[in-house]
Amino acid sequence: MMVSILKQKTYRDATNQVLFVGAIALTVLTFTMVGRENLEAQGITSGFGFLERSTGWSISFSLIEYSTSDPYWKALWVGFLNTAFLGAVSLCLATVLGLIVGIMRVSGNAMAELVGASFVEIFRNVPLLLQVFFWYALLTALPPPRSGIDVFGVVFLSGRGTYLPGLNVTGEMVFLAVVALLAALAGVLWLKSSRRFARTSAKDKKRFTRSLLVGWVFLTIVLFWIGRIPDTPLLNLPYLKGLNFRDGIRVPPELLACIVGISIYGAAYIGEIIRAGFNAIGKGQTEAGLALGLSTWQIFTRIRLPLAIRAVLPTLTNQYVWLFKSTTIGIAVGFADFFMIVSISINQSGQTLELIAILMGGFLLVNYSLAWVLNRVNDAIKLKGNQLRM
């Protein structure tokens, strides 16, 4: 009887599944139980109550107001924003630079191909952490502010940071403008992908897209006007005063080293992806463009580039998630990113399990939403219908 049950496929399958899922659940459960016990033995109460306690330590770089009396949740939020900021800036720069490198590699000009290939090989074959260390060492070895390097009177480089021109506008208004931009882009995306607009003609969609973007520009101007700081010029150039620069935006070397490192490393990878995208386009579309009398430039901007972007977007999505995760190396040069704030918090509060959970939750949230948004973009622009394979 026993044997016959074991030989029955249904029973065996069910048992296997229960065993597998059970084993995983049991492992997680044991870890949590043992962890709690160990922590309680050290006098640390589990739970998220500690988030309301004030931290008592300062953070070197923050996009929002933060003081040592602020609670843990605010410190974590500062770290999260820093990571999001670093990731957003680096990903954008990496994309632009990668696009240039990728285009150079398919340009047909042998010299441009050589430069593009050298760029990719040099920066892709050396670990990112080493590159960030290198840029950081280079940036901190710059002369002190008093004899800093002046680039056209707009940007100043010095060992204590890089100074960029800024706008005399309150932070809230800049934040609102960014939110408005994201909302406008989401609107465009929705318009392109939602089935609700399947019957709307392409011309109407284009008109609506344009008005959304024009509306955003207008709104931004209004917001900046409201939020400008009185009695100051709108543009804020850094200038040397005493031993340091005044005004402008100071980018600390830790942040700049991370941005430069991640952008260049990412660009080397993205450049290769873009090149593969161009190579994946059939020759036929180019020939059809030539036969219609389009110029090489028109064929490139209207046909090859849009097709290449569509071809690489799924690969790029993975690359973006991967690059975003690499922002954690900020801790190596002392940039106050999410991971660094979490590890300081662990040291200071001892709430190890909760903080690790928050850390993982934060990255899962960002990466899943990044992937979700890019997949929606992909749905919106991917080629419709069945494609001929040649």
Binding site: A202, L292, L294, L383
Partner: protein
């Protein structure tokens, strides 16, 4: 230009791929309003020949003259000839990221500098002519092969070309879709368009061609009016080819 007697005149043209001699001493003249069908076994160079006429392929020596313009290294001449010739490809080569209408209006707007409403009006006219005006807002991937090829013909016609080049337009189609494309081509022929077609559709050749050119191994073996070509072929190779293609 209008008093020219020929649309295309090719003389003593040679073409190499590396060391491979693809086209040997081609001499061919196509008159205005003439319909010429080029046929031959695969690898005979017929596609290469037609692609040389709008310089998708470079020839190495000899001359090609299209509507009085000499095809040489001069970029202006190449642009001029590509404007005046339309081409239809075996694999359609529609732009998959643009709607049917955008496919048809892109080149008129960019090359002929037409305004968008004008270009769309002309495009709808030709889409009506190839019997798919109702598909204008769709994307190429959503259409059948036969429909796509008809769009490709309309797209070429929107440039108001003097000459139409067809490079095996029905070879990639399922059998039941071939006739809808051939019907459009026959209608076009009846309007007096100058056409050079590379095709294996011998029925089409018999019906509309003024002349059939038979090629093999990169050479023109025989050229004759269809009645003569099909009923009294002069060369053995032509006979062998016709037996193979019509024999069973």
């Amino acid at each position: 230009m209008s008093d020219l007697s020929h649309a295309v005149r090719i003389s003593r043209m040679e073409k190499f791929y590396g060391a491979f001699h693809a086209l040997k001493d081609i001499n061919l003249e196509v008159g205005k309003g003439e319909r010429v069908v080029i046929c031959g076994p695969s690898g005979s160079g017929k596609s290469t020949l037609i692609r040389c006429i709008n310089k998708l392929e470079n020839h190495q020596s000899g001359s090609i003259n299209v509507l009085g313009t000499e095809l040489d290294d001069n970029l202006d001449n190449i642009d001029e000839i590509r404007r005046e010739t339309g081409m239809v490809f075996q694999h359609f080569n529609l732009f998959p990221h643009m709607t049917i209408l955008e496919n048809c209006t892109l080149a008129p707007r960019l090359v002929r500098k037409q305004s968008q409403p004008d270009a769309e009006e002309i495009a709808m006219e030709y889409l009506t002519k190839v019997k798919i005006p109702d598909q204008a807002e769709k994307f190429p991937g959503q259409l059948s092969g036969g429909q796509q090829q008809r769009v490709a013909i309309a797209r070429a016609l929107c440039m108001k070309p003097e000459i139409m080049l067809f490079d095996e337009p029905t070879s990639a189609l399922d059998p039941e879709m071939i006739s809808e494309v051939l019907d459009v081509m026959i209608a076009l022929a009846n309007e007096g368009m100058t056409m050079i077609c590379v095709t294996h559709e011998m029925g089409f050749a018999r019906q509309v061609a003024d002349r059939v050119v038979f090629m093999a191994d990169g050479q023109v073996i025989e050229e004759a009016p269809p009645s003569e070509f099909f009923d009294r072929p002069r060369h053995d190779r032509t006979r062998a080819f016709l037996n193979q293609i019509l024999g069973h």
